[in-house]
């Protein structure tokens, strides 16, 4: 599973006793305990929103929405999964709903089944090639990710940054595993093209 050392939500989180106690008290309506949970999870949720949305103001709004939803629903948490996993999934779903409300085509089955002309197999590889040499410039990659269409960015962040598996993404986005794989592949191809373009521009300077 592609989970990085810095990935905020390792799947098998062992909850510490303080967290377990804060959770139980927050479920019973203790506001201070809820504030403690906020302190524990605010960075993770905010970072997730920021990665998925790419905009500070939206990330703040959605982080607020996630914790409001958490406040409404915390009593319903039954411990079937780790609290962090439950909260993370809730946050992803809230961001997805937000993107859908904005009218962004988060995922398009049609697009996956019928690639755009520029993405037809082989077409984007026909130009004189310039392989990415050496380590990838993090800033250039971050800019390239920011420039991805929302749907591609979402899949890329969920899979390559957050470490979700294709079957998990498919369940969240209500699409097939194949669609998730296809969208991720296209996202990486677009990033490759953006990085190559960047390298060419750097070389000309």
């Amino acid at each position: 599973m592609p989970v990085s050392p810095g990935t905020p939500f390792p799947r098998a989180v062992l909850q510490n006793p303080m967290e377990v106690e804060a959770l139980a008290r927050a479920q019973a309506g203790d506001h201070q305990a809820f504030a403690q949970l906020y302190s524990l999870y605010k960075r993770r949720i905010y970072s997730l929103c920021l990665r998925m949305l790419g905009k500070l103001a939206e990330a703040e709004d959605l982080t607020q929405e996630v914790f409001l939803q958490l406040h409404r629903r915390i009593a319903s948490f039954r411990g079937d999964s780790a609290f962090s996993t439950w909260l993370h999934r809730m946050a992803v779903n809230i961001v997805l709903m937000h993107l859908r409300k904005k009218g962004l085509a988060v995922i398009s089955l049609d697009q996956a089944l019928e690639p755009e002309a520029e993405e037809r197999a082989g077409r984007s590889f026909g130009a004189p090639d310039l392989s990415l040499s050496g380590a990838i410039d993090r800033l250039a990659l971050a800019r390239a990710v920011d420039g991805l269409p929302a749907g591609y960015r979402l899949i890329f962040v969920l899979h390559d940054v957050e470490g979700y598996e294709h079957n998990e993404i498919a369940a969240m986005l209500d699409c097939s595993d194949g669609n998730s794989k296809s969208q991720l592949h296209k996202a990486r191809l677009k990033l490759r093209e953006a990085l190559r373009t960047n390298s060419r521009q750097e070389a000309r300077r």
């Binding site: 990085s4 993770r44 914790f67 590889f125 090639d129 392989s131 595993d177 194949g178 990033l191 490759r192």
Partner: protein
Amino acid sequence: MTLDANNPNCAAFQVRLPDLAGSGEKIAADPHLQSCEHCRALLADLVKIAEAARQLYPVAEPPDRLWEQIESAIRNEKDGSDRR
């Protein structure tokens, strides 16, 4: 080095690539890659991008005012439900 978009083997490989990449199988063992420098370079780049992505984003700190806004929203919700 140029990629041959008209090479049917490359095209066929690239159609299979999303599935191969998501299957956890060892793509490097794919027979096409043994003989195709273009597709090896493509694959190496995609792997490099996926690896770089894991180090891409540091954990960010939300602004302090956010908790005040959340508390305020919680209070408003509570007041609203008390009035009903």
